[in-house]
Symmetry: C2
Subunit: 303 residues, 2 copies
């Protein structure tokens, strides 16, 4: 198998877009056609989440390179939710999508190994995982080792999209913010795992809500894939994320979740559709996102 960085670049190039669709199923946001059957009981609700996500996957698989299931949404339903998640991951892979498990995991030593073993082509068989760096670089190391051995990837939190990211990430030490210290560690790991290629197995999460920091971090981490959540609902626009890319249109994955998967709730995407046609709204919203990224960012070079 090819290293994750190469597989990601190939998938982005073949779909000609860096759009990543977040799979964040929520009971209260399901299309009416599914919401009618959505009880509070974990088992049937988990089955509905699986069906919803698999249908979203069927729509977006020809259009985008990668999907990002949000682990919390499935965990919230207990073991039944986790069974649904496994089904969703398997379906995405069967449709030739890359799968980024968004769990923001982090722990020390053999515990980090257990997370890495499970998520990165273990029983969950994801292609990549998001990781939290608070515990330090020795806590990230077991994830890096496993990612390299299994040709998988990591995305380490650097500067997150929420206002509270200022609380600790923005504190300054020796003239650099904490997130810049983390970024320096991530770039070293990316370089170390690049194996002669441009990008390594380790990427970084940087919110779309911070265009200036995105620009600085792109420059500070030339060998690092940037995963950029917060496009759409959280206030980020296509022009805000243009600095996340290298000039050739690669180097960034831009995430949209609710705006695409719950597009039935957006009047402009749902126009003329019946309740049972929510998949068409998803298709329209996904194509709209792809168009906007192509128009306003270097991702246009991929067309």
């Amino acid at each position: 198998m090819t290293a994750f960085a190469h597989r990601l670049a190939a998938a982005i190039t073949s779909r000609r877009t860096p759009a990543c669709i977040g799979l964040d199923p929520r009971r209260e946001s399901l299309p009416p056609a599914l919401a009618a059957a959505a009880t509070l009981e974990p088992k049937p609700l988990a089955a509905i989440f699986a069906r919803f996500c698999c249908e979203v996957i069927d729509v977006v698989a020809p259009l985008v390179p990668i999907v990002k299931p949000q682990l919390a949404c499935f965990e919230a339903l207990g073991p039944h939710g986790m069974t649904a998640l496994a089904e969703v991951i398997e379906h995405a892979r069967s449709k030739q999508l890359l799968v980024l498990a968004d769990g923001k995991r982090g722990d020390i030593g053999s515990t980090a190994e257990a997370y890495a073993d499970g998520w990165l082509s273990g029983p969950w068989a994801a292609d990549a995982l998001t990781v939290n760096p608070y515990l330090g670089l020795d806590s990230v190391e077991p994830f890096v080792k496993t990612a390299e051995a299994r040709h998988a990837g990591l995305f380490v939190l650097v500067k997150t999209s929420n206002p509270g990211s200022k609380d600790f990430q923005d504190l300054r030490c020796d003239g650099k913010t904490i997130y810049e210290h983390v970024a320096a560690g991530v770039e070293q790991l990316a370089t170390r795992t690049a194996a002669g290629g441009r990008y390594g197995a380790v990427g970084a999460v940087v919110g779309a809500t911070w265009p200036k920091q995105l620009d600085e971090l792109r420059a500070a981490m030339p060998h690092t894939w940037l995963l950029v959540p917060g496009f759409g609902r959280q206030g980020g626009r296509a022009s805000d994320v243009q600095t996340a890319f290298h000039a050739d249109g690669l180097g960034a994955l831009i995430v949209s979740a609710r705006d695409v998967i719950f597009a039935h709730a957006r009047p402009e995407m749902n126009a003329g559709l019946a309740d049972g046609q929510w998949q068409t709204a998803v298709d329209r919203a996904c194509r709209d996102m792809i168009e906007r990224l192509a128009a306003d960012t270097p991702a246009g070079k991929l067309r």
Copy 2:
């Protein structure tokens, strides 16, 4: 239901020890009597993990107030592991043990809500959860809200036991380390949720490997329960954790995992026992831990 801080204090007082047993099942460390059947297949291995943990629970339930399942060990086995985890949590609760789910979760907004909903008396029905603060205080807030509403608790990572905790946690900003900044935020949350009692719904994780910092953090967070991992194998001794306590013997939970649950591998605990008597080794190691805490820390006041 009573607030978590009260339930925890009552459980510690009634068992007369602050010992917390970590449930970290590992295939390679199982007692020979179980290891013989331990395959690499997730489903049967998950069933063995559940059986092992439930038998450990049967031994320690009369002795300690709380157990701490390590989510990574179960997640590593995929959905079958998660089903086993639910069984283990249910068994612990049926034996009147408090359950601290060690997942070090953390995310923003509605995603944090989903984690909190699931783990804190949702389908997983844990009494408390460990949380990672890197994303900032607004990312901890949904956990606090849910914990308060459901009389559950949180333990926020402050200063972890691994050497790499120095990488980011020890960086200094405005004369304080990052972990001291986090500690200040945690103490505020503890005070806010104390509802007239001594302790709040929010605790802190501080490694047993840092006696000096433990002392300083005990002083800086008077209303905060300290969860202290790293006792035993990671190099911490009973005398190292004495400063985690208030003078009355409350205020801290001391964690031991491998030294107790895999006590069959310690010659001094396994003396004279056959393979099928590993539970006796667990009993001896658990009592030994309790004795040492009583002898060398203010927890002796609880006897």
